[in-house]
Symmetry: C2
Subunit: 312 residues, 2 copies
Amino acid sequence: MPVQIQQKIAALGGGVGASKLLLGLYEVIDPEALTIIVNTGDDLVLHGLKVSPDLDIVTYTLAGIVDPLKGWGVRGETFHALKRLAAFGRPDWFNLGDRDLATHIHRSALLEEGKTLSETAESIRTALGVKARILPMSDSPVPTIIESNEGAMHFQKYLVKRRAQPVVTGIRFAGADAARPAPGVLEAVREASRILICPSNPLISIGPILAIPGVREQLRARKTAVFAVCPIVGGKSLKGPSDKMLAQLGYEATALGVARLYANFTGTFIIDPADKAQARAISELGMKVEILPTVMKTRAEKRKLASALLAL
Amino acid sequence: MPVQIQQKIAALGGGVGASKLLLGLYEVIDPEALTIIVNTGDDLVLHGLKVSPDLDIVTYTLAGIVDPLKGWGVRGETFHALKRLAAFGRPDWFNLGDRDLATHIHRSALLEEGKTLSETAESIRTALGVKARILPMSDSPVPTIIESNEGAMHFQKYLVKRRAQPVVTGIRFAGADAARPAPGVLEAVREASRILICPSNPLISIGPILAIPGVREQLRARKTAVFAVCPIVGGKSLKGPSDKMLAQLGYEATALGVARLYANFTGTFIIDPADKAQARAISELGMKVEILPTVMKTRAEKRKLASALLAL
């Protein structure tokens, strides 16, 4: 039975990792009390279309149409258009399904008509019946640029086209300094009874959101209400290249390493039982430490972690 | 056995009606000797994507991928993206299949990159393996506007959304006066040994091409080499609303009515045996009249008419 929580919850996150916890939250609270602030550093323009991977992953997941095996894209998807695009000599390293394409076409058409990215996200989530608010971190493009031994490249090119093979030497959030948080972002953090940092890549999912002027400061002002779920368990990423990227950039690829990145704005840091040995070192950074199972494979585990986080 | 004709052929046409004859021609001559000048008055922007229906019908037909029953779109097409676009509240009265969408996405992306419509047509036809040259009538948008008892509307809205139900009171080719023929159009007419006017709607398929400054004059200069195939047989359109539109605009919906529209630039007017009674009246307009079966249902009939036209 869903626990009806009337208090407002704000959650910051990226794509697949965040969506697991977000789905759990969505099912255990009044979804209308949930505001999700999503990384858009991964956004890119492909074939002239604006693609917002993390916004779409979150939206598709909460709409119940996400491909359950991949964690992104639409269930039962076909790729007829992409095959044709490839035949026209267009790049096909980024998978765009036929149903998924409609999202990008719709978003691009709205942007062309003068709508903001926030307005497109709102149009898409309401059309798909998602009751939680889904906000991009900013209405301005703030592309995440990976600097590497192969040169500088867009994050998606690093992750998808080059399969996270280049050695990362730096990360830039291009244009972040001049960007503003999307409407509602700062308010959501200010007004929430709890703010959750989802188990997403700290560098390229949470990092871009923190880079938008005002966000980190607003989180810091709400520090005791900020609960961060560690995405590294036993020295490994739950999903994606977080561990490798942390190590390549000189951070510890451990819960403690992530904790150091979050310590100045997080009140409570949640680690998996596998990392309980690091609890003391983390608490010395000035955060409460809570130990909860953070590996969510089943729907029940997602709901359980969400409920446990709200009960802390 | 294909008759190898080394002389250059130019053909002017619209979509489905023209494509029947064009396919016949394509199969009986050296396709590289064929230049097709296509109506782009039907072009429209849908969901931010540039759609060129007649260019695509011709290209898909010659590429062998057209839907054989409809005469437009791609064979075996799916419509997953369109269903989603409709769910996002976007108009879905214009059928856009998943494979077909790739064409519009590719064309739009090239235009966005600064390419001309001619260059996009060239990219698409070569990628699809079409050996004939396919030229838009102009690189500038020249939308066909139907004036009717329901007001002014884009031709596609009149034809597809309103199913040719409004009563037509006028036709405008918006921007035609300032448009230029696409590169190669005038040269193709000037250099061809024969110029064929395909059996297309004279008002809204051939009419827009003639409205581009210089085209009608160039045809007139080659009058004896111009062969026009009448699209009206026995007072009815072979395809589409030509007969109705002619009547509503005060023209005779007969072979003679079409002949009057073409007389000042056509040397030979080809009518079906069904209309042989009009041959004398047509010849009095100053054109030779030839009688050939113009109703092409089978591939053999398409090839036969094409061969017969070249043998005149």
